[in-house]
């Protein structure tokens, strides 16, 4: 806020308070033309108004609101740039409230954090907390039932891009993952992509054009096997998907696979370490692991 606007606001506030004071003083007495002074002198369509005075303390209440306003403006922000004696801010209030909640729930999270993941995944109350955390933080991409969506892996099956052990899941949530499939279109050309796609689909026993697949096989070995492995079973160390199963992250029809090879794919799982902290991630990992290891109740 510039000095001009700060002064502008201060001037308006001061003027308003001053006007209120003046108005109160001005309106607590009226001058009546009525002889005898029984009515207020107001006459509308022949109806006159008796003066039934309000109690004096009522007037004090008005003055009290002005006093309250002055106290408020001293303590809290309101006068332009002046931050107020208490230095109150809305984000400060939010942070403080959050800190209080943290303090309240810290012992619970600490207790869960000390339990190994395999054991935590059998604790129904821990799973309930994990479920709540999942619905708030993860369901937007992975779905409330954790079955994923196109481009977002299903977490309830046994197929894992980066490993499905509880510790690997925790690592994934903590630090995030990046799935990089380069674009092969410019290198392979349209026909080359088609051949490789047909070969890749043949790995999961799909009906393909055998001629194309045969030509595609050496191309696959040269270009793709480095990540997906010679047998196409993928590599969890770098997050390369297994191509021999029926699970396709971006879709398994021929057109989609051709698109995937031509333009590549960029999968991104954000790191939750800073947002949630290791204790909550621990609970989430236990919950996610429990989904595919049905020890859950």
């Amino acid at each position: 806020m510039s000095n001009f606007w700060s002064c502008y606001i201060i001037a308006i506030v001061a003027l308003n308070i001053g006007l209120c004071l003046w108005l109160l003083n001005w309106t607590c007495k009226i001058s009546s033309d009525e002889k005898g002074g029984e009515t207020t002198g107001h006459s509308f369509d022949g109806i006159t108004e008796y003066n039934n005075p309000l109690p004096r303390w009522w007037l004090w209440l008005f003055y009290l609101t002005i006093a309250f306003g002055l106290c408020y403006l001293t303590l809290y922000p309101g006068l332009g740039k002046y931050p107020g004696y208490l230095h109150w801010t809305s984000h400060g209030a939010h942070d403080q409230e959050q800190m209080e909640y943290e303090k309240q729930y810290a012992p619970m999270y600490a207790a869960y954090y000390a339990v190994p993941l395999e054991k935590l995944a059998k604790d129904s109350s821990a799973l309930q907390v994990g479920n709540h955390l999942f619905e708030i933080n993860c369901a937007a991409c992975h779905g409330s039932d954790a079955r994923g969506a196109r481009g977002f892996p299903n977490l309830t099956d046994k197929d894992w891009l980066h490993g499905g052990s509880p510790q690997q899941i925790e690592e994934t949530i903590l630090n995030g993952r990046d799935g990089q499939m380069p674009a092969w279109g410019p290198i392979l050309g349209e026909q080359g992509v088609k051949e490789v796609a047909n070969y890749a689909l043949s790995l999961s026993d799909r009906k393909v054009d055998p001629a194309l697949a045969t030509v595609g096989k050496p191309r696959f070995a040269a270009m793709c096997a480095a990540c997906h492995g010679g047998d196409g079973k993928g590599n969890q160390a770098i997050g390369a998907p297994n191509l021999t199963d029926t699970i396709w992250l971006y879709g398994g029809d021929e057109a989609t696979v051709i698109k995937t090879i031509t333009f590549g794919r960029n999968g991104h799982m954000p790191a939750w370490k800073d947002t949630l902290g290791p204790e909550r991630v621990h609970l989430l990992a236990a919950y996610v692991w429990s989904l595919s290891n049905s020890a859950s109740p």
Partner: protein, 473 residues
């Protein structure tokens, strides 16, 4: 017409004058009076106080029968547990209360104000304490004027101690509706109350003390909205407390036994008793005034005097404007009243009907927002939902889910398939629905998630939802 102030404050006649729109409040010292209506008020006032004080102590199946647990968002009323989403019932109740009040006001004026309003109840009790410690009206007026003596200090402190005791009991009892009253009393004696409990107890103690001790009739005159808009419900057949001017005027004092007609006087002996007993400090002989709360103290006072004078009672009485002017009998059944009664009966009927049909179970189904549907690897169409189920009953319940809608759609996964909820507990359950696209002709199907108690067929609630599929295949 104020008979207490004796100094002439009227300004000199002629010319414009300055009027003060705020004036010092005139303290009203009420003379006590007994009689037929005051006996009724003793019953209603102590009755109301007893009900207020006793209700929190009632138990229902081992729990406080009336408990409004604000932090927990549970409102226990005997066999019912209400949640914030049941606030519609409170609206019903408030509407019923309002229409009862309207109907009552059309017939009999401000009887609520005079007989059962908490402001009246507590003011009256405070005045009894005042009478007990400081004496009758004349003694109190003397005490007000007297210099500070040990006697005055003693009596005043006794009065305020009495007021404070009642106010404190009121404050604690009131908080007892919101915080279990037995624990509250236990914690109170052991000085273990939490900050907010202490705050609210003191808050309601202070407001009771101020409203019933110091504010009194000012609450009715300047604060109560109901008192101010009640007059619109009055008509010429409404019962009001009225002075029969035809009978009473001209007023004047006379010796007992003398013939008023010979003196050219009416029945009113101008004794001022009706003014002295009025808790709002008005003179009923000036006609109907907005301050009148219809406590009937002036009726009892006047009837007593009339009996002493050997006149008929009822110079000040419950009557209607119509009856007073024309002498016709009271006309009770009016279209306005019948209208209020009709609306009131309708409201009561609907309220009881909806309450009797209330199922203590809430089910909501929220379709996932990120994607409308999903194609699984084996080619089926899946929709995922978050199902929120809340047990609003007072028992442990075990529920199972079933689906109503197109036969092609079925529940693919829900963990767990059936589940138990404690009273007041809520769960969010992820549910996946699945359908074979070969059986789907449409892109949109209406379905219903039915949650049913496994042992009680009456407890069954459904939530509507949509199953979405690709538009063209």
């Amino acid at each position: 017409m104020n008979k207490i102030a004796s100094t002439d404050i009227s300004p000199p006649p002629g010319g414009p004058v300055t009027l003060d729109l705020y004036a010092q409040r005139q303290k009203i010292q009420v003379r006590s009076v007994s009689g037929f209506f005051q006996n009724i008020r003793v019953v209603t006032i102590w009755g109301m106080l007893t009900v207020f004080m006793a209700l929190p102590w009632m138990t229902w199946k081992g729990r406080q029968a009336l408990l409004f647990d604000l932090p927990g968002r549970h409102f226990y009323l005997f066999g019912w547990t209400f949640q914030p989403q049941d606030f519609i019932y409170l609206s019903w109740l408030l509407a019923i209360g309002a229409f009862s009040l309207f109907a009552l006001t059309v017939v009999a004026g401000r009887v609520y104000c005079g007989y059962v309003c908490p402001q009246t109840v507590w003011t009256k009790i405070f005045i009894w304490i005042e009478k007990f410690t400081e004496g009758e009206r004349n003694a109190r007026l003397r005490l007000d004027r007297s210099p500070l003596t040990i006697n005055k200090v003693l009596r005043r402190s006794m009065k305020h101690a009495g007021w404070m005791a009642v106010a404190l009991a009121t404050g604690i009892t009131f908080i007892g509706y919101f915080s279990p009253v037995r624990e509250l009393y236990g914690d109170l004696w052991h000085l273990r109350l939490g900050f907010w409990q202490v705050f609210w107890v003191l808050f309601f103690t202070a407001t009771t003390y101020l409203n019933a001790g110091w504010m009194r009739e000012q609450v009715c005159m300047f604060m109560c909205p109901y008192g101010r808009f009640q007059s619109v419900m009055f008509d010429r057949d409404t019962l009001i407390i009225s002075y029969d001017a035809k009978r009473g005027d001209p007023r004047g004092s006379r010796k007992r036994g003398s013939d008023p007609h010979a003196l050219g006087l009416g029945d009113c002996i101008d004794c001022d008793m009706c003014v002295q007993v009025c808790p709002t400090g008005i003179d009923i002989r000036d006609g109907l005034q907005f301050q009148c709360i219809q406590c009937a103290a002036c009726i009892d006072a006047c009837d007593g005097i009339m009996r002493q004078m050997g006149y008929d009672k009822g110079m000040v009485r419950y009557t209607s404007e119509n009856t007073l002017e024309t002498g016709q009998p009271l006309h009770v059944l009016r279209p306005r009243l019948l209208g209020y009664v009709a609306v009131l009966s309708l409201l009561c009927g609907l309220f009881l009907y909806s309450l009797a049909g209330r199922i203590p179970l809430t089910v909501e189904a929220i379709h996932d927002r990120n994607q409308l549907y999903r194609e699984s690897n084996d080619g089926t169409i899946e929709n995922s939902y978050l199902l929120k189920v809340m047990n609003e009953s007072q028992q442990m319940q075990r529920y199972s889910l079933s689906l109503e809608g197109d036969k092609a759609i079925h529940v693919e996964a829900m963990t767990p398939p059936s589940f138990s909820l404690r009273p007041g507990e809520m769960v969010s359950l992820p549910v996946t629905l699945e359908a074979d696209p070969g059986y789907l002709a449409d892109s949109h199907y209406s379905i219903r998630f039915v949650i049913a108690e496994m042992n009680d067929t009456n407890v069954k609630q459904a939530a509507a939802g949509s199953f979405l599929a690709p538009a063209s295949r």
